[in-house]
Amino acid sequence: MIYAIELNDMAKSTKEQISDYLKQFTVGIAGCGGLGSNAAMALARVGVGKLLLADFAIITPQCLDRQYFFAGQVGKLKVHGLRDNILKANPQVNVKAFDIKLCTSDVIELFATCNVVIEAFDKAEMKQMIIETMLTNLPHIPLVVGVGIAGWGKDVDAHVRRSDNLIICGDEVSALSDQLPVLAPRVGLVAHMQANEVLKLLLKDFILKTADQP
């Protein structure tokens, strides 16, 4: 019995090994709204080493119904509010906050060192800009995009599909409109699908060590 306990002490748990392994990686988050804030928190909690946050918006009361912010943070920059929240959940994450409306040259400069980038913009034009920029200039870096997230229910319609380094999460049809708002459960669902795809990419070469196999 004592011997078994000693063995367990020697071997780190699977979760600990995963978070240790994830420390080496950097993930870019382009947009810190419903998709970006929720995906970033999930990646921080599992232990991704470095997160680069980019957004230019300020937290308003309207953000609170679906984005990972709190009432006391209204008026702050989203990147600063999210950095604070990430560090409360996991103080070990290295968070870099960029108060910026990304353009093509910013995307190339900011995300060139990332292992994976999450596209989390609200406007279709911005989604096109980052996808075009990444496919053209940084094609070796996987880009995980969220497309078709508005409304409620339809959970089985949300899917993941891949085209080389472009990974698409969402139902690809539910556009934001007056009749179809973006609501916390479904945007959270797709944000976590994106985070899960990032994790899958980062852990593809991860090997779990057992007690007798140090």
């Binding site: 947009g31 709204g33 419903g34 998709l35 970006g36 989390a120 913009f121 609200d122 406007k123 279709a124 034009e125 989604k127 096109q128 996808i131 075009e132 496919l135 053209t136 995009v145 969220g146 497309v147 078709g148 997230i149 508005a150 599909r161 085209s163 080389d164 472009l166 698409i168 690809e172 049809v173 539910s174 556009a175 934001l176 973006v182 945007v187």
Partner: protein
């Protein structure tokens, strides 16, 4: 001709067609699209000039607001 559109096999009577013709035939009319032809990103300005042939692979992603 037979092409692969978003992972699905599709047959068309024509022997070749432009990306623009494919979009019209398939009634893909979203304002903003991402298109890859045999793995290569195609800018919107080249939709007319890019010709699809037997065995080609096309990825079309319609972009919409929400995030």
């Amino acid at each position: 001709m037979t092409i692969t559109l978003n992972g699905q096999t599709e047959n068309f009577p024509a022997n070749e067609m432009s990306i623009m013709e494919l979009l019209q035939t398939k009634k893909i009319n979203w304002k903003l699209l991402i298109i890859k032809h045999n793995g290569r990103y195609i800018k919107r300005a080249a939709y007319e000039a890019t010709v699809l042939r037997e065995g080609d692979d096309i990825m079309v992603l319609s972009l919409m607001d929400g995030g």
